[in-house]
Structures are given as C-alpha cells and as structure tokens.
Amino acid sequence: MEISKKVAILGSHAVGKTSLISRFVEQKFPEKYLTTIGLKVDKKTVKLDKDVVDLVIWDIAGQDEIASIPHYYLNGCSGYIFVVDLTRPSTYENIQSQLLMLRGILRDAEVVIAANKVDLIESEEEQQEILHNISITPDFCTSAKTGEHVDDIFHKLAEKMISVHESR
C-alpha cells in the first residue's frame, strides 16, 4: 500500500529542524544558517518492508513556546519529530511539559524525539552526561551535518504511523 501522511518537525529555534529535513530529502547540509519564516513543505517517500509512505513534511518556524506555534499548521498531522539541541540545555529543559502540551493538540499523532548536533559533542562521556539531564530519553542522537541517524528518525516515524494505521 502506498499512503500519504502529513508530518511536522517541531522544536525551539535553531535546533536544526530545517537542516535535518535538507539532509533527509536532499542529502545536503546547509552550511549557512537561514531562519525559517513561517512554513516550508517538503516531501520524501519512505519504503518500509510492506508499505510505501509518502511523507509530506511541514517544517514550521521554530518557537521556544509550544503555545506560540500556529495550531492550524498542525491540523491533521499523523506524526511529528520533536528536535532538541544537545549543546543548548534551554531546548530540552522543559521537554516533558512541551510534549504534554503537544499531545493535547495532536491527540492521535505519533512522535519521535531527536537529539541533534551530536557531532558537536566531544566525547561519549559528555554525550551520556547530557542525555542523563534530558528527562525523556531521545529516540536517536542525530547530526544533520554528518547524516548520523537522520534517515532513522523518519523511518521510525513512518513505521509507527503505519502500525497505528493498520491497527485501526
């Protein structure tokens, strides 16, 4: 079955949401930081074992407060990727309350958590220490720059969405 799904990529500003999409869709890492204004929509097809999922990815401008995200952009999302920046504690300090708020808005949507910019962490010990301070364990530590685990976050989200779709 080939199925289309709307997914959103969310998180504070400058955590690397657009870069993760660029890496996933175009296999490119934009060296220059350009803030996303409003919204950008991209698409990529993910092939799973049995199904094919057309992910229509809504890259919504970063907001430090979930309440500030225009809710009309989130309508109809089947899943979302929540991105934090491993080098900036302010992006994951309130992760629990932020995800709780998102669950209230996106009741039936699946979520995958990405801890991005792992390439900037110098040692495994430092990485473990940072992860220990994040109250919810991220699904993957990613790097849009090197491509580490970038495809995995989208594949995992596609799998979760298909599994829910088939069980309904």
Binding site: S4, K43, V56
Partner: protein
Amino acid sequence: MLANPTPAPHQLLEELRQLLLAEDREKRSELWQRLEELEAEVKKDEFQEKLEPYLEEQLSLLQKNFPELFGKHLGTAIKVQIRESQSEIIDALYPIIGKLIGKYLRAEIERISQQIDQRLQDPFSFSSLKLRVKALFTGVSYQELLLESTAQPKIEELFVIEAETGLPMGHFSLNNLSHPDMVAGMLTGIKHFVEHAFEKTNEELNTLEYEKYKILLHTFENFYIAAVVEGNLNAKFEQELRDTIFEFCQKHPIEKQKAITQITKEELSQQLQHHFEGFNYGDK
C-alpha cells in the same frame, strides 16, 4: 686728442677667462641641470616605492567599502542625473530595454503561433469544427475566432486538497507538475495563514495571484479545490469554472477519507481529468 686708455688688469683677466672657459662653463651648466633632473627622478621613485604598500592597502579598503562610503552619494547622484537628463538616460537605456521587450514579444508571438499551428494541424477536431460553425453564424472570421481562442484563460493545474492535512486527494495537470504534494501543502499553509491572520470567522481565501497565473480556491467542508489559471481571467470564465467545479462535486461526491492512498488519488485524478480536460479553449 687723448689716446685710448689701457684696460685695467682685472678687465683683461675677465676677457681672458671668457675666451678660455666659455665652453666649459656652458657644459658645466648643462651637467648641473641634468644632475638636478636625475636627483628629482631618484627622489620620486623612492617616494613612490615607500608609498606603494599604503596605496595598495587603501585601494583595497576603498574597493571593499565602496558601497558604504559612496553608495548613498552615488544613489543621489544617479537620481539627480536621471531627473535632469531624462532624454540622455532614455537614449542610453533604450537599446537594452528595447532588446528585452523584443525578446519578450518574440516569445509571446511564438507561443501564440504554436497554439494556432496546433489548432490548424487538426482542422477536424471538435473545437475547430465548433469555431467554424460559430464563424458561419456570427459572421466573424474563423481566423479572428482562432486568434481570440488562443488568448483565452486556461486551467493549468487542478487540485482537490484535503482541508485539514493539505494532502492532495487528486490532481490534474497540463504540465506534469513534479511536486503536487508540496504545492498542495504550501497552498494550504498560505490559506490557513491568511484565514487566521485577520481573525475573521467564516471568511475564506478565494483567489491568489502570481504574475500571469491566478489560483482560484473553492472551499467545501472537508476539502477545497484549487484551480491554477493562466491568462486573462474574466468574470464569465471564473463563473463557468466555479459552476463546473460544483457540477463535478455533485457527480463525484468527495467524502472524508480514512487515508489518502495512491489508489484513491489515481481514481479521483482520473475523474478530474475526464471532467475538466475539455474545459479549456472554449470547449465548454
């Protein structure tokens, strides 16, 4: 009568010097002049050599900061120049602008002639026969009607888009648009943004304009239809298009889908194509 007095000894000595040294003195004066010239030259070279690195540095700084340093003054100077020497400016720009306009006109004429050729190549098509009958009854020549028909607005793209998700449920394209999902998503984002930005309830975005294209949006409860129209969209065409959209929705009721799959998309896209492919070129 007095005899000539004998010249004084110093006068005699001077005369003798003149006779013996005049040539030497002249040469010395020339040499002195040449020496002064050479001295000046040497000094100038040294000066230039010492100054050169500073000059180069200043020159590169000037090149780098030229827009900041002189941009404002240049802008003012250009404005004054344009205001005060309009005819000269026009004379200077005319060849460039003329070429651009010419290029645009050639492209447009080529496009129209291609459309006419296409119609002439198939003189027995339904649309050509219809134009001939119209020419017969109205008295307007077939050529004029043919030319008029090429200037008609036409649907380039047609989308049925799920209102909530912005996913395309079906799509009909004259140009094989490569990213219908992204276009449908962005259209939905813009639609939602505009409808919420002005905090008006029950107000809907109906039209978007982009150069020679107009995008007509027709909103239903769970979906909306977006038609991308090229050309001079007049009220008659718009009304006919909106009526045809209604007709389509009555004939093919579009219900809220559990999931948008390739199968549902293809089915709806085919229905759209059958219903709208004859809409363009006055075939309505």
